[in-house]
């Protein structure tokens, strides 16, 4: 018996099955099969077409008539309160502003620049692993590695003094929580904004070779405004913290739950690239999907989407599409996972994709090679998953060795 669209629970669906915390909610598989493009009502009052199949999500990502500009009337923002697009948030902009801003950052994140950064990324991981070893078993992978590691990397790339990083982590944690009231979120944002404002101003006077200095240089040349530079810095700070941190927790948990494949990795560390690519497919941290709005009538997967209507792309569902990935709910490091949509496609393809891969490859490989007997310190059912947050992951991951 199919569930008619109007009886679907309000979107987004954050709670995951306690017994299958790494899988998308079962509703997605049903929708892919029976109602691949379905109109949903959202908890915040917005409405949108929910797209769940890989082929349709891919087409939507590449269609220029689906806009990312969050200020368009009716844009299906996901949060409890609609927010105006802040200057510099190019992820929520369309051409030409999107390109004007993104191109400034492009060379900092391109493959050969990230390759040059790998030794430093390895050093940062090594320091944290050494500290973990010195403090002894048991430990929380989230506190010891997953949170501080990507934080330190992005802070160095930006040119933010590391001494200030715990200040950032506290505020970004508040900002990303689904449960936070509008007030607390604004206060954290304003605090971060004013700090970065002072830092960018300082670099406008005295430039180093870091990303904030590059942004400050562009302000001095009138390519972007000071306010845009600060907005871009905050965007990178969010993206650089929470995404890799949550993936690290989830990947560690996944490998511990798949001991056969973990053994293969330990025996042949060159498998790490496959492990990470399959992890990017299998796990989803942006579990609510990403959002767009049609600027013209568009037909996707045979469904007419009218100009002005919203669209939600469930990339997590697309990554489990049985038409693209055989046995999609199996974690399998030997499959070809390269068609995953975790970094999206089209002009908003994740700027940090190459950095993310490098971070995850280096951190996961080093963790499991350094602690060969790593195991969960509590039963898997006691691991707390982030069912209350926009970005999914684990709150803590107690391990022993």
């Amino acid at each position: 018996m199919t569930t008619p669209a109007q009886t679907l629970p309000l979107y987004p669906w954050l709670d995951h099955d306690l017994h299958r915390p790494l899988d998308p909610q079962p509703e997605f598989a049903r929708l892919r099969a029976e109602q691949p493009i379905v109109y949903v009502h959202m908890k915040n009052g917005h409405e949108a077409w929910l797209i769940t199949r890989h082929e349709d999500a891919r087409a939507a990502l590449r269609d220029p008539r689906l806009s990312a500009y969050h200020d368009r009337p009716g844009f299906p923002q996901m949060g409890p309160v609609d927010r105006a697009v802040r200057p510099g948030t190019f992820a929520h902009m369309d051409p030409p502003d999107h390109a004007r801003l993104r191109l400034i950052l492009a060379p900092e994140f391109m493959p050969k620049r990230i390759t040059a950064l790998r030794p430093r990324i390895q050093e940062i991981v090594d320091e944290l692993i050494a500290k973990m070893a010195a403090e002894g078993s048991p430990a929380d992978v989230v506190e010891a590695l997953a949170m501080p590691f990507p934080s330190r990397v992005i802070c160095e790339m930006l040119g933010v003094p590391y001494a200030d990083h715990s200040f950032f982590q506290g505020h970004t944690r508040v900002l990303m929580s689904q449960a936070t009231s509008g007030k607390a979120s604004d206060s954290s944002f304003e605090t971060l904004l004013s700090y970065l404002d002072r830092l960018v101003t300082a670099k406008e006077q005295d430039q180093g070779r870091d990303i904030l200095s590059r942004l400050a240089d562009r302000v001095n040349h009138g390519v972007i405004t000071h306010r845009e530079a600060v907005g871009m810095a905050i965007l990178l700070l969010f993206a650089g913290h929470e995404t890799s941190a949550n993936m690290l927790g989830l990947i560690t948990f996944t490998l511990l739950q798949n001991p056969g494949q973990l053994s293969q990795l330990k025996a042949d560390p060159a498998l790490i690239n496959r492990v990470i690519e399959e992890s990017l497919r299998y796990l989803m941290i942006i579990h609510t999907g990403i959002v767009r709005i049609a600027t013209d009538d568009v037909v996707i997967g045979g469904q007419l989407i009218r100009a002005g209507q919203g669209v939600i792309l469930s990339l997590g569902s697309a990554n489990r599409d049985e038409n693209v990935f055989a046995h999609p709910d199996q974690f399998d490091i030997h499959r070809d996972a390269s068609q995953h949509l975790t970094f999206a496609q089209g002009i908003h393809l994740c700027l940090g994709a190459h950095l993310a891969r490098a971070e995850l490859q280096i951190a996961i490989k080093t963790l499991f090679l350094s602690f060969k007997s790593l195991r969960l310190a509590v039963p898997p059912s006691e691991i707390p998953f982030k069912n209350d947050m926009f970005i999914y992951g684990v709150h803590s991951l107690p391990v022993a060795w």
Partner: protein, 73 residues
């Protein structure tokens, strides 16, 4: 096969440089595509097609020549 790259559309994502590094590089300062070889040899064609497919901003174009028939020894 003839490849063209429009730097005005390029967003510097680097998928082309990763897929076919013998054919595509990125400018060190700007990050935009640098076409190293506009007529790549056939052993690179599959990688180049993948690069063109992955380009998020449609900055890369291909003109595929009709392959001449292979002569057999």
């Amino acid at each position: 096969m003839r490849v063209t790259a429009d730097t005005r559309k390029c967003l510097g994502t680097g998928n082309c440089a990763l897929s076919a590094p013998e054919v595509f590089d990125q400018d060190d300062d700007e990050g935009t595509v640098v076409l190293l070889n506009s007529q790549p040899p056939s052993k690179l064609h599959s990688a180049v097609r993948r690069a063109v497919q992955l380009c998020p901003s449609r900055a890369l174009q291909l003109a595929e020549d009709t392959e001449p028939a292979e002569t057999k020894a």
